[in-house]
């Protein structure tokens, strides 16, 4: 017999779900309105900008973005059409394609990033004290540590 959620558990869970929807919805709307880019596309550009040579294997990028292979293919299609990313076959392994941030892509990202960071602060970080932030970061670390071990389906 499964125990139902008590008040604190319910508040933590519902709060998590609602804040997640609220914050990502708000960021999505702001980014789309101001620069015509989705948070998903922004995420790809941001990831690429952080790694050596600004290039990643498609499969690694898909995992980092929580996206299926086909989902990433089409997302990169869009970014390629806009000239922000370029495809490049890997010389190591000819199965893999690398997604490479173009210089236009980097410029664009640098133009967009301040608004995104500002949004993350306004909607999320600034609402919390420094110690709450530390608590959150460590709580999330604890949760992620359990992903591999308790999953029944794919962890995603």
């Amino acid at each position: 017999m499964t125990e139902w959620l008590d008040e604190v558990e319910m508040a933590a869970w519902r709060g998590f779900v609602d804040v997640s929807a609220g914050v990502s919805g708000a960021l999505e709307a702001e980014l789309l309105e101001s620069h015509g880019i989705t948070t998903g596309d922004y995420g790809v550009l941001a990831r690429l900008s952080e790694v050596d040579d600004a290039r990643m294997r498609m499969c690694d990028l898909a995992a980092a973005m929580h996206l299926s292979p086909s989902g990433l293919t089409r997302r990169v299609d869009g970014l390629v059409r806009r000239g922000l990313v370029r495809r490049e076959p890997s010389s190591d392994d000819r199965r893999v394609m690398l997604a490479v941030l173009t210089s236009d892509g980097r410029s664009f990202l640098e133009a967009v990033a301040p608004l995104h960071v500002d949004g993350v602060r306004r909607h999320f970080l600034s609402r919390l004290s420094r110690s709450q932030l530390r608590e959150l970061a460590s709580a999330f670390r604890d949760i992620q540590a359990g992903f591999g071990s308790v999953a029944r389906g794919r962890p995603a």
Copy 2:
């Protein structure tokens, strides 16, 4: 000039995004595999079960589910097809339709709920101490309090 995120802020934000994707992905997969229902459909049934007379106006339900009007229309379409929810015109206001949980819907919900609660525990709650839970709940309350006041686009 916008300040970039420091280490703690980055950990809190990235952790939030990744945990959000990971947990909801895991729950989605489990619910779908075991009972053939999405978390979205489950959410509708759960909400309806919590309110008086197990009925809600479509627009209120849409807001509660973070869904557009059209999105809810089609979600309810699906639940009606499966006999879990019934539509009923409101007598107060003839513009509004009420979504009503059927008795089949309630039975189904009661069959599914234990697995869902169990999943929420396994993937989320059980990873945190009691005091972490309280911290989270209050942090989320603080964040939601700011939604109306700092939004630039729609909050959700």
